[in-house]
Symmetry: D2
Subunit: 292 residues, 4 copies
């Protein structure tokens, strides 16, 4: 089949390649003319035969919002938009309504796979109407991994991004769990082969996983991670997962702890711990450390 693809960065570029390898036609647009097949969204729409399917793969938030808005003006009844970026699921509801008013269908697709996706395939979690999804199934099949899993129609509009968001929240918690364990082993007085302990866990244990494999790979590069600072960004989905829990009164203590550990890792000096130090000094005469 034929598909338009908006956004040809690290993710989008690889996805174009994987879809083409499966024999489909991809017309790509990107603001960077060196990456693009066409010069504008308008030209993209004109190039594709109706009814069109356009997959958006641009940064969540303003960029996605602007692209959906522009496409709402350019597309016609029977066309379809898929948002494969990292949009918040609440945005999907808005975008679906906007497009529906133009007779344009909307499907949201959460995509996992990172830098390994081109080779291994991308796990896809999609939300929307059954018939809409069926129409794009060949592209989903091209993108997904080879096995039986790696693709799910999770529910109505927004369910794809909601599932991907929760996937990332879980990812935060799993990573934090390994990280805490690694720090414990590194601190233990009698454990001398921490890297080898992690390697040994790759088979036969309860905690074997792909993330464990990646951690072993990282330790093979730098056994004690001496060259890496303990500084971690977060990219939206972790925060949204915690907020979704708060909205639905679902406690997420492990995922939240993982998010907060990242917040703290980015602070040069913790304001709240200044307050603790000040209080200890006030009631107990405990010495404080002066800022230098």
């Amino acid at each position: 089949m034929e598909i338009g693809l908006v956004g040809l960065g690290k993710m989008g570029g690889n996805m174009r390649e994987r879809i083409r390898q499966a024999g489909h036609t991809v017309v790509g647009y990107d603001r960077d003319p060196k990456l693009a097949d066409v010069g504008s969204l308008k030209e993209l729409v004109q190039t594709l035969a109706a009814p069109r399917v356009i997959w958006i793969m641009v940064p969540a938030g303003e960029a996605t919002d602007a692209t959906v808005n522009e496409l709402a003006d350019l597309l016609h009844t029977g066309d379809m938009v898929i948002d494969g970026g990292n949009s918040r699921w609440t945005e999907d509801i808005k975008h679906a309504e906007l497009l529906k008013a133009q007779g344009v269908a909307f499907v949201d697709a959460g995509v996992s796979g990172g830098v390994w996706g081109l080779q291994n395939g991308y796990a896809l979690m999609v939300g929307g109407d059954e018939a809409d999804i069926a129409r794009v199934q060949p592209v989903f099949d091209a993108l997904k991994p080879a096995g039986d899993s790696g693709f799910v129609h999770a529910g109505g509009v927004g369910a794809g991004h909601f599932s991907k968001m929760v996937h990332n929240g879980i990812e935060y918690g799993i990573m934090q769990s390994y990280a805490e364990g690694w720090e414990l082993l590194e601190a233990a007085p009698n454990v001398t082969n921490v890297r080898e302990v992690f390697r040994s866990w790759q088979e036969g244990t309860v905690i074997r996983s792909w993330l464990l494999d990646l951690l072993v790979r990282a330790l093979d590069d730098d056994e004690h991670l001496a060259g890496i600072r303990g500084y971690a960004d977060d990219s939206g989905e972790g925060r949204w997962t915690v907020e979704a829990g708060i909205d639905m009164a679902v406690p997420t203590p492990a995922i939240t702890a993982s998010l907060y550990a990242r917040f703290t890792s980015r602070q040069e000096d913790s304001p709240q711990m200044k307050a603790i130090a000040a209080l200890r000094n006030q009631f107990g005469g405990h010495a404080v450390k002066k800022e230098s």
Copy 2:
């Protein structure tokens, strides 16, 4: 080689079988005469040719302590004891010293694998002297999984159980992360195929793992886990992991959150939440729920 095995329960019985399948001789002792090859520890020691290797596989705490004490009296210079149970690593230090006074070597072995170990092999994390471990390597090789990993000499005495303890602490955190994600998806208004979302994650995602596979298996048995109560025991290693963190001033927020979630799951009514309810009533006139 020849080895004595004390404790032939769920774990020990399967391990005897796996060691025998590898062509070694196992003389097993258990308090239950129907399981045992010999009638007493004393008979076990008499049956084995010196220098002896005896693997203890009994419950951590009093039972292991009693067995080590009794073996310290029965064994002789050049013999060796391996504790493959779930002992706390601090116990290993004590046991090694006690046995050393009799000229008996000590190795601690953390064993992972659960009910799947007989078939897939047991992951082994061992602590002790290089030479002692080399002596039992054929048995370790018989027990471990087929691949390159699944066995590690983690460090000195106690390092095996310390590593296994941390393994279990990580396990708590990973399980809690999936569990939080599952509850979020079940609570989401627009996600209708939660089980299939989990199944889809088994390929191509960042969070694919053996525990994920097991959760899919459980959901295949009971899609919404309607027949299972939200009640979880804990078995020592989780607590010890948190306490090891406290001893070494290593924060373990995700693992600790996982442990506390289990504590809470076992309370019919939370005393601390009674106090919260009472306080809210005092200052805000908020209604309390009466005990029925």
Copy 3:
């Protein structure tokens, strides 16, 4: 001075009384005609002499929103609206803009004091322009406690409710801290006089506070809180505090833990712990508790 007061419930009714005791004129409106001095918002506006000051004391969310919208139509240049309810601070920004378009000033006031406010005074945290606040200072002075503190101009529009929100978040954390301590003491094998321990803390300790006094009062009513269920609602500000932290990348682990403890207290059976139980059963053969 003269002020209109919208909402004469538990809080608003007592506030009317306290303002009148200070010699000011209060014209009150409430949907319940038995409580109201006038029959409608329109009549309230007609009754007050321009320039008018109207204090809104209705539930946050839709009710406050509707009242502000209606007042925006009824009021004129030079009038002023104060929102003394529990609105989220982000609502204040919206309301201030809406009213500003009509030439109407806006001040937000976070109010603390609960059922004790009529007698002890209400602590007030207000946000808005200096001149606007100065104009209503006589009413603020009537409401606030007798001493030097209990009133603050916290910053621009929204700062009053933001401060009140954080006040409540801190309240969650303090209450949770006492509650955890109480449960520990009740569980301790050798502590026989838990209530008296709490009473003793009221003087000379680092943790003496008004909330501690209230807890002692509650324990005097019911020493072991046997008649109260461990069930706690939450009322918005705790969630908003955590979300504000997430928005600004400020970790709030103790306040968040307090919020989650309330979520959990309201679950008959925890879905996430069902998943934990199912997983333990899968890998370790651990028995699960069946739902009865």
Copy 4:
């Protein structure tokens, strides 16, 4: 009455003064001869008339242990030892048994008050037999604050230190709650008078407390705590409180979060966050910060 006092540091020295001001006789011993009234523990015992009461006020752990051991040899049937230091309650059980074998009574006393105790009195939580405590009541009365509370007989041996330990655990949680709130307010875009917000809370609010008063005092010294590093030690009781919870399966999420925040505050670079950064780099190609 007459009492011996061992340990005349910051706490012990002030306590000697407060007891003397109440008209009692205190014979003090300290390793530092400039502080001491007698030259040795032996001389202290010889100076006091039988039956003797000796109050120990030395650092918990080895120093207290050594002092109790030495006194067990020096004292006689009918004498009494009070441990007023910060001993772990499990030590009390040991010490009571050791002394009982010599016919010497033991009482444990948790003491709160810090640098303010001399002036305001010390809150006392004591454990032991009714008759033993009655015998020293005059000294407890001299030390405690003036009002009706500030003293409790909490239960059997150990109950005093257990209660004091929980007091300190609660203190951790309350301090953390204020500290989180302070950081939120400092980070808020529209709150310009954070210090004044805290000052205003001192009257009429739900969260007024002595710790709040101290925080206002600290902010009066240094409005944004610019001169203080966000670095906080912990002194045993916080850890023990969390461990007591773990032993008794009582979740203490807020207190634990407070303890972990202190651990983190003391790390220059977080090992666990190195692992998180390494993992993000492995699967997502996210840049890491290099160690400089």
